[in-house]
């Protein structure tokens, strides 16, 4: 029974990995500019993610080793440095963006300027990773993230999408000269959703939960339900953006405009819900990102690690957590807008995506770790397809970013 309560791991991974400041804004923008025309990209990204998450969970459940363990052990220290360097740069930037999102959410409640709240956000995240056990870290943001359901309520309250919007689902309405922006948002959706940190976190979480080969069914359920939940939330935001923002010709460039989308169906209550959802998803994301990079380093170097251990029992791991929060604090104090930082981080992630995902293809076929549970033919073919997708995203993201003028 307790094992099934850890479906929360999947939902939390989704809440932190799928829905955060960047994806909330880009989903609303996608809806605002192209109606339903980008939903297929969300579905494609979800499919890829379910595949990757299931593999990460299966690998860790059977071998009792994490993804980072496997990269170091299988490829050696030198090659391990490649995904590690990419993760360090990307996660430092992303962590800064998520802390910014938390600060903005708190400022929506209190009215205090978010720049002053930034250190508060950093301190909150630090307190949680310092003291809270893994189960709390897993459950708290996941529970709050369930509020995403209110997006669906909002759609209902608005009477559902107008008839004119439905055809854009299979026949996107791309105005003249907007093709580069459309393709950029496709790449951004794919790159932002398929984030390697999510896999490092999920794999480590499976160890924190002491999954074994008996947990394979649970892993599969968690992958589908968790990522499915995130997908639903993203799609709901695209739809809301299409219903509310598109007729008004507002492109959701800032979080404030997304808040508008929420506020219309439910007034002040809607704005409060939005602020809470923003808070919980950014908090979940911040926890996931800082833990993912610290897990990666601790596991890659063979240190003690776990959120269920006291800080003195996993000293270097906890120092790493603290250092990354300080780095994010430093970047944040430079004052850049969190959405711009998130964009930068997503671009770095997209560029290195093939290198971060390629190890999977090899270790998922390694019998030393997986015994009889290695990939079947379907999983390998699907994985190759995902890798090709990752290569395409990596190659086109910078040219499209330039051509579309920043999306």
């Amino acid at each position: 029974m307790k094992q099934w309560l850890s479906l929360a791991l999947g939902i939390m991974t989704a809440t932190g990995g799928f829905l955060d400041a960047a994806t909330i804004a880009s989903a609303a923008q996608a809806g605002a500019q192209f109606g339903f025309g980008l939903i297929w990209a969300v579905l494609l990204a979800t499919g890829a993610l379910i595949l990757l998450v299931e593999m990460a969970g299966r690998f860790t459940a059977v071998s009792e080793k994490t993804y980072a363990d496997a990269i170091r052990e299988h490829f050696g220290f030198k090659l391990y440095l490649i995904p590690l360097s990419a993760e360090i740069i990307a996660e430092s930037l992303l962590l800064t963006a998520e802390l910014g999102g938390i600060a903005i959410a708190i400022s929506l409640f209190t009215g205090i300027n978010w720049h002053f709240l930034f250190p508060v956000a950093a301190l909150l995240v630090w307190l949680l990773v310092w003291r809270a056990p893994f189960s709390f870290i897993e459950n708290a943001p996941a529970t709050l993230g369930l509020l995403t359901i209110f997006f669906l309520v909002g759609i209902g309250l608005l009477g559902g999408p107008p008839h004119a919007l439905w055809p854009t689902l299979w026949h996107p309405d791309i105005p003249q000269g907007q093709m580069a922006t459309y393709l950029y948002l496709v790449a951004a959706t794919l790159g932002a959703t398929i984030s390697p940190y999510l896999l490092f976190f999920y794999s480590s979480g499976a160890r924190e939960e002491h999954w074994t080969w008996r947990s394979l069914a649970l892993n599969r359920a968690t992958a589908f339900i968790g990522m499915g939940f995130g997908c639903l939330g993203s799609i709901a935001l695209v739809v809301l953006g299409g219903i509310v923002l598109r007729p008004l010709n507002i492109t959701a460039g800032t979080l404030g405009e997304v808040g508008l989308a929420m506020a219309r169906p439910m007034g002040i209550f809607g704005s409060l819900i939005f602020a809470t959802v923003l808070f919980s998803t950014c908090l979940g994301a911040a926890l996931e990102v800082v833990l993912a990079i610290s897990y990666n380093i601790a596991q890659g170097f063979g240190w003690e690690w776990s959120e269920d251990k006291k800080p003195v029992e996993a000293a270097r791991f906890n120092v790493t957590l603290t250092v990354f929060l300080l780095i994010a604090l430093g970047i944040g104090l430079l004052g850049m807008d969190p959405l711009q930082i998130a964009l930068l981080a997503s671009t770095v992630i997209a560029l290195f995506l093939p290198f971060s995902l390629a190890p999977f293809l090899i270790i998922m076929n390694d019998r030393t770790y997986l015994g009889t549970k290695t990939n079947g033919r379907f999983a390998n073919i699907a994985m190759i397809f995902v890798l090709m997708l990752a290569f395409v995203v990596a190659i086109v993201s910078i040219p499209l970013l330039i051509l579309s003028g920043g999306g």
Partner: protein, 122 residues
């Protein structure tokens, strides 16, 4: 579960493996392996090497003297290979965590830095 190992390969079963002590503590990873020419002409693997200088050497031989100059061998440690009870992606060691100098950074940081921060010990 991994099969019993019949043939030992240095890269597969020793290099980069996780070092775990008999009391279940992770103390580090294998960075390099020391070997010795014996008088009878055989080459024998003698010690496991851990530490940033050894890791720097793995990336490039040119980095080794630079790392040595900066770190002065202070973080390099060795463990004799006969301390290893079980080979594979994880090396199980015969002794307890306090028997080895590897991983002493964790203890040092815990004693000298972390204990000043509230909540580190409970």
């Amino acid at each position: 579960m991994p099969e019993a190992i019949r043939w030992l390969y240095a890269m597969r079963d020793i290099m980069d493996a996780q070092l775990v002590t008999s009391d279940g503590v992770r103390i580090g990873r294998v960075a390099d392996i020391e070997a010795e020419w014996r008088d009878d002409g055989t080459l024998v693997l003698t010690q496991i090497v851990t530490g940033p200088q050894a890791l720097a050497g793995r990336v490039s031989e040119h980095l080794r003297p630079i790392a040595r100059f900066l770190l002065r061998d202070r973080f390099e440690h060795t463990i004799p290979l006969d301390e290893v009870e079980q080979f594979g992606p994880t090396l199980r060691l015969k002794g307890k965590a306090e028997d080895y100098t590897v991983g002493q950074s964790d203890r040092w940081i815990a004693q000298h830095i972390l204990r000043w921060i509230p909540g580190s010990e409970s």
